[in-house]
């Protein structure tokens, strides 16, 4: 049966008049409406009976569609065999809320067969992240250091996701590397000094890392440090202040500096703080938690020192000379000062403090192990 627009309008009209009234009034309203067509009247009653259920049904179906459309299956992002530019995805290396990193191979026979491709998730449509991505393009021109993972280029996937092609580093996060190779304190410090060099290089180019953590510091089989993921860093201006107005903190919360947590502008000093956190972790195996009394000289510092000393002893099964422990502890306290101005002036100053310390207890001068480019 085909119903004309007019018939539908009549049905709809009667339906509308009745729908706000209780069921027992419908018959009265309909008989008073002048509508004579019994088929129409029957149809109206049938429709009215299920009006509410129908609305609930379609609302819930809409909800289901919405849920399915929004559902995020990380596996679904990029798969083996997918192409990102001229690179073929081999496997996923890591995923985060902001990006996915994939091992990929170059398909045009260029010199770097294997690369890491970082595909940025939310970026292209969000102004701030898009801006960061643009800056990142700039960064890759500045960075060229044996201890920093190389950037090869950037692009945008067919779907509009920005991606960064970088050196594929086969290595372990610095803390795991230290554990698996059972490095002693001396060698841990030597390794750490390499990170200072890499960071200073970045700072010299006005690039703040902003997300320094063990996961972004890999050590290759030959013991070379590779600092990765300048993904959220930005160019700093000559005053050392961030040129990008921060609208939110996008790094890793457990390594965030106090000013990052406060949402204030991130400076190179913030990286120094994160470096302190990393140092604390790799020499004691535990995370240092900043407390209110951190920079107070009221005796609470002595307790912190005793804890540190105990951690150190536990970690290396030996007791280091007290002056050395004291020096090391004060380097840590300084680098993690609540006030950014009280921290080491730069990564080089942190490095030289540590080098002096290393000389002190090794009794010989040290040289930096040469990093080998990827």
């Amino acid at each position: 049966m085909r119903l004309s627009d007019e018939t539908w309008d009549r049905i709809s009209h009667l339906f509308e008049i009745c729908q706000d009234h209780p069921q027992e009034k419908w018959n009265k309203i309909l008989s008073g409406s002048g509508e004579k067509n019994s088929l129409i009247l029957k149809e109206v009653i049938e429709l009215l009976n299920n009006n509410k259920q129908a609305r609930i049904y379609f609302d819930s179906l809409r909800k289901k569609i919405e849920t399915d459309l929004s559902k995020q299956d990380p596996q679904d992002f990029l798969r083996e065999g997918d192409f990102v530019g001229k690179f073929r995805i081999i496997e996923a290396i890591s995923r985060s809320g902001m990006s996915g990193v994939y091992l990929a191979e170059s398909t045009d026979g260029s010199f770097n067969r294997f690369v890491a491709v970082k595909v940025i998730r939310l970026s292209c449509l969000s102004g701030r992240r898009h801006k960061n991505f643009k800056i990142e393009k700039h960064i890759l021109k500045c960075i060229n250091h044996p201890n920093i993972a190389n950037y090869y280029g950037t692009g945008v996937t067919e779907e509009g996701f920005p991606f960064i092609v970088m050196e594929y580093i086969k290595g372990l996060p610095v803390d795991r590397y230290c554990e698996e190779n059972q490095l002693d304190l001396y060698n841990r410090l030597l390794l750490y000094i390499q990170i200072c060099d890499a960071l200073q290089h970045a700072h010299n180019n006005f690039i703040v890392h902003r997300d320094i953590k063990p996961g972004n510091i890999l050590v290759t089989d030959d013991g070379t440090i590779k600092l990765l993921d300048f993904g959220i860093s930005s160019i700093t201006d000559r005053k050392g202040k961030s040129s990008v107005q921060e609208t939110g903190f996008s790094g890793t919360i457990s390594y965030a500096s106090p000013e990052q947590l406060d949402g204030r502008a991130t400076t190179p000093a913030s990286d120094i703080y994160q470096m302190g956190k990393v140092l604390y972790l790799i020499i004691t195996g535990s995370n240092y938690t900043l407390t209110e009394d951190h920079n107070k000289d009221d005796g609470s510092g002595e307790n912190r020192f005793l804890n540190f000393s105990a951690d150190l002893r536990k970690k290396f099964q030996k007791t280091y000379p007290l002056p050395l422990q004291r020096d090391l502890h004060s380097i840590l306290v300084k680098s993690m000062s609540i006030n950014p101005e009280l921290r080491h002036l730069n990564a080089t100053s942190l490095k030289s403090d540590l080098e002096n310390l290393v000389k002190l207890f090794s009794g010989c001068s040290i040289t930096r192990p040469e990093g080998k480019p990827g």
Binding site: A54, Y57, L61, I65, L69, G81, G85
Partner: protein
């Protein structure tokens, strides 16, 4: 860098204007273009909305519109006509995804044939896709009974269009849209149940 295979904005705008002026043939030109863009966007937007908001058909249609019609030289009427085409395309996309789901869950090991298929594959749950197919069958019946009613369902349900937009796109009064949508929805529901 992958080269973008996309139709020129101008082309789409021209078709849209034609369609808006009443040239029904322009619809056939527009539909596949809009369909493709919507599908592409569905994939893309899932990542944008990751962890933040939910993605619904309204947002999808709207974002696709913004993507295609970048410069604002399209009048309100043409815009509603875009939404109209997109609503029909959205219905088709969801139905196709449901059919795909049914094939995959029943046929076992059929693999997506092309990369495009993997990337643009909208993943619907078993339940959603079964329900969508039933609704689509009922909507086909409604189409046979009264075409206008079916179009209203497409605009309101599949395209997430507002009462006003639907009214402009279909050239009827907002009151008619509102009434008809209520009735059509219940009609479909009754049909699903029988």
């Amino acid at each position: 860098m992958v080269e973008k295979t996309k139709v020129s904005d101008k082309e789409i705008k021209n078709y849209l204007e034609e369609f808006s002026k009443g040239n029904k043939k322009a619809f056939d030109k527009l539909f596949p273009l809009v369909y493709r863009e919507l599908r592409k966007n569905a994939h893309k937007l899932r990542f944008r909305f990751f962890d933040l908001e939910t993605l619904n058909t309204t947002a999808l249609v709207h974002e696709t519109y913004l993507k295609i019609i970048r410069s604002g030289s399209v009048d309100f009427k043409s815009r509603t006509h875009f939404y109209f085409v997109a609503s029909r395309a959205m219905r088709q996309i969801l139905v196709n995804a449901s059919l795909k789901k049914r094939t995959l869950s029943r046929g076992g090991n059929e693999k997506p044939r092309s990369l495009d298929e993997i990337k643009n594959f909208i993943q619907l749950s078993d339940q959603t896709s079964e329900e969508l197919l039933l609704v689509n069958d009922a909507l086909k019946k409604l189409e046979n009974e009264n075409n206008r009613q079916a179009r209203i369902v497409e605009c309101r349900f599949f395209g997430g269009m507002s009462v006003e937009e639907t009214a402009v796109a279909l050239d009827i009064s907002p009151a008619t849209v509102k009434r008809s949508w209520n009735v059509a929805r219940t009609w479909l529901y009754n049909n699903l149940k029988s």
